[in-house]
Amino acid sequence: MTGTNRSPLWLTALAVLAVAPALVPGAATAQTYPTRPVSLIVPAPPGGGTDIFARQLAELVSTAVGQRFVVENRGGAGGTLGTTQVVAAQPDGYTLGFIWNSPLTTSPHSLTLAYTPDSYRAVMSIGFSSYVLCARADFPAATGAELVAHLKANPSRYTYGNDGVGGTMRLAAERIFRRIDTRVRSVPFAGAGETARAFLGGHIDFYGGSLPPILPHVQAGTAKCLMLTSADANPALPQAAGLQSLGLGEEETVLWWGLIAPARTNPQILSRLEAVFTEAARSDAFRQIMERQGATPRVLGAEATQRLIRSELAALGTVAQAIGLQRQAQ
């Protein structure tokens, strides 16, 4: 205690020591970047859509750049855990985050987080996918319109699984439920796989989440997806209604994926990353992978992605406030 208070010189020396190595080699290494393997943090457990895209992109980019991009899964807390780690990492280009939009544009409304849009730089984004709300085959509604009518007639009767308190699916669904003036009880799970298991076992009434885990069960006839959270319908799920057809088009909330880096990362490194990841995302091989997962390819650059984040953050903030979502953590 006394040691730190006694001499301000101490602090100055420490500060210089801490900052110096971050500044000096930074400029030199931008030319040769990357000289060692790069960590690509995926804030979700292995096996989901984000993980598959990240691994495939990492593979393509590793080949193109000649340096390994290693996917590290840091799941938990709706993706905010891994994202916080990305934001807090050394801004040297060796720790990047391949994220979906939820920890950036949804979680900040329910949690006090260590980051804002100023703490990271969007590098690029690859495309989007709609969330779905699915019921088991015997559910007494066959279309999106019937589902809406049924939910309106039975408030608080049903439960739906989602990807956690800070998750976009939760907000996307609550946005719709609020608009049609009903309530469905939310049960948070650690991921879409867990949600699917509880749904198929009959423990919750609706599956709420991304398409891939539920698609095989729709094909097998055990589940029917009735509503998408995107405005338009999806060719992979013809029976699910897009919000536009239900007259709820302006309530669209979709899932999208992109690459972020800590805010003070060297701009040269950022533009190099934007170029290589954009090229990889535009390749036919990767577009096929996205389509196979029910996602729509739509590559955006750094500027456009950063704009998307800010506008989405503001729009969802309005919704979160309207449905009374409170910040839960200190």
Partner: protein, 496 residues
Amino acid sequence: MQSFSLLLDGLATAITPTNLLLCFVGCLWGTAVGVLPGLGPLAGMALLLPLTYSLDPTGAVIMLAGIFYGAMYGGSTTSILLRIPGEAASIITCIDGHEMARRGRGGAALTIAAFGSFVGGTVSILGLMVAAPLLANAMLAIGPAAEAVLMAMALLVVAAVSSGPAVKTLAMITLGLVFATIGLDQLTAFPRFMFGRLELAEGMSFVALAIGLFGVSELLLSLDDAITERPRTPRLVDLLPTRAEVREAAPATLRGSLIGFAFGIVPGVSHIVSTFASYAVEKRLSRHPERFGQGAVAGLAGPETANNATTGSAMIPLLVLGIPAIPSTAILLSALQIHGVQPGPLMLSEHPGVFWGLVASMYVGNLLLLVLNLPLVGLFVALLRTPMTVLAPAVLLICVIGVFSVSASTFDLWVMVTAGAAGYGLRKFGYDVAPLLLAIVLGDRLEVSVRRALTISDGDYSTFVQGPAAQVFLGIFVLVGALQLGARALGWRRGG
């Protein structure tokens, strides 16, 4: 019969030179990551996943599955020889496996573990073939409420199998449950006991805790009695189990297979729960329960078989439903999806080649692992001839590398060192550290499943006694408890 001919087709796929080589590489790598403390099947599979992109889907899953069950073989080695669990499913193996090694039966213990693993693996593949769709439905019946019941029961079983005094065991379990709450609350993302340390967001690193509590504390304890203790070096003729040991191990192996396979359908921590369930069963059935903790052969053979038997049933939810029940099978799912093979209800009809190729390769792989592991027994046991003054620092180094390799975190190293010192103190005062570690693993899942169940039931606590799965679990528990009490009342056998 149709499935038999499909299996033969699968066998033809599995023994093509390429697939055989991939299976061998997977098993070898799996054994390696299983033997090394810190690296487990998950890390091993994630590291080799990118390699599989250029393979065909069958080859990709054959190799990755090889790592998965290969690691279960390797995990027992360091538990037996050094009392350091290679992965979580080998914690129980430390107890009697290491006692056997201390008594010069290390070779026999490794051989029994290898055979047990082989039997367990093979039985579970048979089960996977015969009963996959049926078991998939049983798995789905286990919702949050039933899972909560099962986790609570598992904690009681942990208390029952511990060799220490009841009060001290309960203290350890309570402490473990407290530690299990560290980190971000999974349902509300509220930070608990994190003290501003981001490293604690996911709770304390399990690997660091396990290696610290078991490995480091063991090394510290060995310093205490380094002069007196020299019973470890076995002669080469002692590598094979004696006839008496085989007689004790064989029934335990069979029971372990069934227990492991049954628990494999429980999502999440099945491989861990199965080991101590098997241990508890063996201890209760044994004519000499007092020998447990003192190098009982059944206490090694049962759990070591059980953790391998979970590998087959852990594949069921993945292959039949397309839902990974444990993190390792999530990697298999990724590998399949990248190749456009979607596991799920239609996989058997749409991609029978992949399914049966994988099943057949698991038979082949288990055989390969047995052939691979038996010659290694001699080699591993020879390591014990190394003087402690050389062995202890080398092991400590491996522990440090193992813990650091998981997430490259120096914080985890401090957790390991602190846990080592704490483990030393606890064990000096007669506290068993196994219940502490198991309570941390189980407590986390217990809490989450209780809260999910109550959300679903809208706060109605009767949800825990409703539903077929919860009732089955409770029924078994009440039955076993009643038998136990009855036996005790009649004075048949003293409780151990």
